[in-house]
């Protein structure tokens, strides 16, 4: 039997551990809370000679992503990491990285965007980037952070995909919480990651290529269509790699996880660290005879629409949890995707959107119980007028 390499690490340190094992050719770095300790730890690995990485300290996140783009275009395996305002500052180049089909992997430690200034968790940073062409994998705990990063490299570099991957995890709630996880042995991890031969490289003078030239009415549209196709291939690749990783580690991964969902009448849809807390609440409700379940989204981009619609098949009421807002839109980003997924399935299911946890407001088990309790009525009466609710908010609109 496989003997586990048992670790206790914060989410940040688990990321640095995965990065140590990946040993990327180039890592570009600019610090921002709550990502800072991740790069502290990785910088230690660089200083101690644990990795051969070219570690590039830059003067802003815009430069961090620009340098990662340059490195990846030169054929290097490149990584960087950021949070919130840092992601916002690099946004221009984030979009470019995907457009150039550069398989960069970037851990993003979720933090609320300013203002007012706030260092704590919500998903406004990565949700704001959901249409940049990056694959987005959300993580429930430190184990998933570590596992997702090791898988992200293979997903990004897969020839059918060739798109950058963001591995996101909740600031402080995961980044600064020490907890138990299992790590791969170094040799296993190295073997899993394998060597990287870029299909195209700026440095290959035998096969000269150009990245990012002017591309106007004549071909821009066709090139975007190719990029979209890479994303269309991604679900199959994410699944294949998730299965293979399961064979290696004993922890298989899919695009989403259905937790006690098969016969669930009241279903909650969520992503990130609150999924673990929700599972505990689901178990409690089940013990009391309530048919509760959870659909945990791992891959938000690509969004596995048809499979999710099917998995929610038996629900009479769905509560969608969003840790960010989409101003002026009918509900948060996850809510809209779920509604769109169910459109045309011919099923009338009551759906309520629960906005929660903005700026790090704690998501307690009581909050989640409140969400499920609200769904009882929705199951009986259908989608109510007040279908966008604010969980844990004081004052008007709060539940």
């Amino acid at each position: 039997m496989r003997v586990a390499r048992r670790l206790i690490l914060t989410g940040n340190d688990a990321t640095a551990e995965a990065m140590r094992q990946i040993d990327p050719d180039v890592v570009t770095c600019f610090p921002i809370t709550p990502q800072t300790e991740l790069m502290h730890k990785f910088a230690e690995h660089v200083a101690d000679g644990d990795v051969k990485t070219e570690f590039v300290l830059v003067e802003s996140e815009h430069s961090a992503m620009s340098a990662a783009v340059g490195a990846a275009a030169a054929g290097a395996r490149a990584m960087t990491a950021t949070s919130a305002n840092g992601l916002a500052l690099m946004w221009e180049i984030v979009y470019i990285a995907a457009s150039y089909r550069l398989p960069i992997v970037m851990p993003v430690v979720n933090r609320a965007l300013s203002g007012p200034i706030n260092i704590h968790c919500d998903h406004s940073d990565t949700m704001g980037c959901r249409d940049t062409g990056w694959i987005q994998l959300y993580s429930e705990n430190a184990q998933e952070v570590y596992d997702n990063i090791l898988q992200a490299v293979r997903i990004a570099e897969h020839p059918d995909v060739l798109l950058p991957v963001m591995v996101t995890f909740d600031g402080f709630i995961l980044s600064h919480t020490a907890e138990i996880l299992e790590g791969l042995e170094d040799a296993e991890a190295r073997n899993w990651i394998g060597n990287y031969e870029a299909k195209y490289s700026l440095l290959n003078t035998d096969d000269p290529v150009t990245f990012g030239p002017l591309d106007l009415q004549d071909y821009y549209f066709e090139h975007k269509r190719q990029e979209i196709e890479g994303m269309w291939h991604a679900p199959t690749v994410i699944r294949e790699i998730g299965r293979a990783y399961g064979e290696l580690s004993g922890r298989p991964y899919d695009l989403f996880e259905a937790y006690r969902l098969e016969d669930a009448e009241l279903a909650v849809v969520a992503l990130g660290s609150t999924c673990g807390t929700t599972k505990v609440v689901v178990d409690e409700l089940r013990d009391q005879g309530t048919k509760a379940g959870l659909l945990k989204i791992r891959s938000f981009r690509p969004f596995p629409e048809a499979e999710i619609a099917e998995a929610l098949g038996n629900a009479k009421a769905i509560g969608v949890l969003d840790r960010s807002v989409s101003f002026g839109a009918p509900g948060g980003p996850v809510h809209k995707e779920i509604k769109a997924a169910l459109y045309g399935t011919g099923r009338e299911i009551g759906i309520v959107n629960y906005i929660y946890g903005l700026g790090g407001r704690d998501m307690s088990m009581d909050n989640i119980k409140t969400a499920f309790a609200g769904l009882e009525k929705v199951a009986r009466e259908g989608t109510p007028d007040d279908n966008i609710r604010f969980l844990g908010l004081r004052g008007e609109g709060g539940v």
Partner: protein, 191 residues
């Protein structure tokens, strides 16, 4: 031991509650248990009230939220007794509260207007000044917690301290901390 033990740490920024909350989690991991340790950051200011949390269980821990009903509370600064509701959510019958103070458990009980619970006190700041030369009460509080909680073996905590302090600390700092933990383990009293 119940299936899940939850500890809440109350301190002021700079007293080492973050380190303590993680250190107990790491020591629990050494004993093969599942654990979580995490701080509750507000503004990161020296002297501001802050909290730390530790969970220990025989089974994997899935929750990721603050601790609202801790079985155990450790208070690293007795000026917090009048500023923060340190006893909030503790069970009246067997809740455990350990306070760093020169006062007695009866003094703490009066201050908190609290019935029930088990209250223990230890002059961890005095011990830290004597043994480490600095008023950082977190490590002696670990000794006191291990004595009154029976949560983990003192040897495991000592081993974890040695591991943690083996990197970048002078040997006399480690030795001072070990003495401080041992003394607090022996000197903690309560009712």
């Amino acid at each position: 031991m119940p299936q899940l033990t939850e500890i809440r740490w109350h301190a002021r920024g700079g007293q080492g509650a973050k380190t303590a909350s993680l250190l107990v989690a790491e020591a629990a991991a050494m004993e093969g248990k599942y654990s979580q340790g995490f701080p509750d950051y507000g503004p990161e200011r020296m002297g501001a009230p802050m909290r730390g949390f530790t969970r220990i269980s025989d089974k994997p821990i899935r929750v990721h939220c603050a601790i609202y009903e801790p079985g155990m509370v450790v208070v690293l600064d007795d000026t917090l007794l009048s500023a923060v509701d340190v006893a909030a959510g503790t069970p009246a019958d067997d809740g455990l509260i350990i306070v760093n103070t020169v006062g007695t458990a009866a003094d703490v009980r009066r201050e908190l207007k609290l019935e029930g619970r088990k209250i223990f006190t230890i002059d961890a700041t005095g011990i830290a000044i004597d043994e480490i030369g600095r008023p950082i009460p977190n490590t002696p509080m670990l000794g006191a917690l291990m004595k009154v909680s029976n949560l983990l073996s003192l040897d495991t905590v000592m081993a974890q301290i040695k591991k943690k302090f083996s990197h970048g600390f002078r040997p006399e700092i480690l030795e001072g901390n070990i003495r401080a933990i041992q003394r607090a383990y022996e000197e903690v009293v309560g009712e």
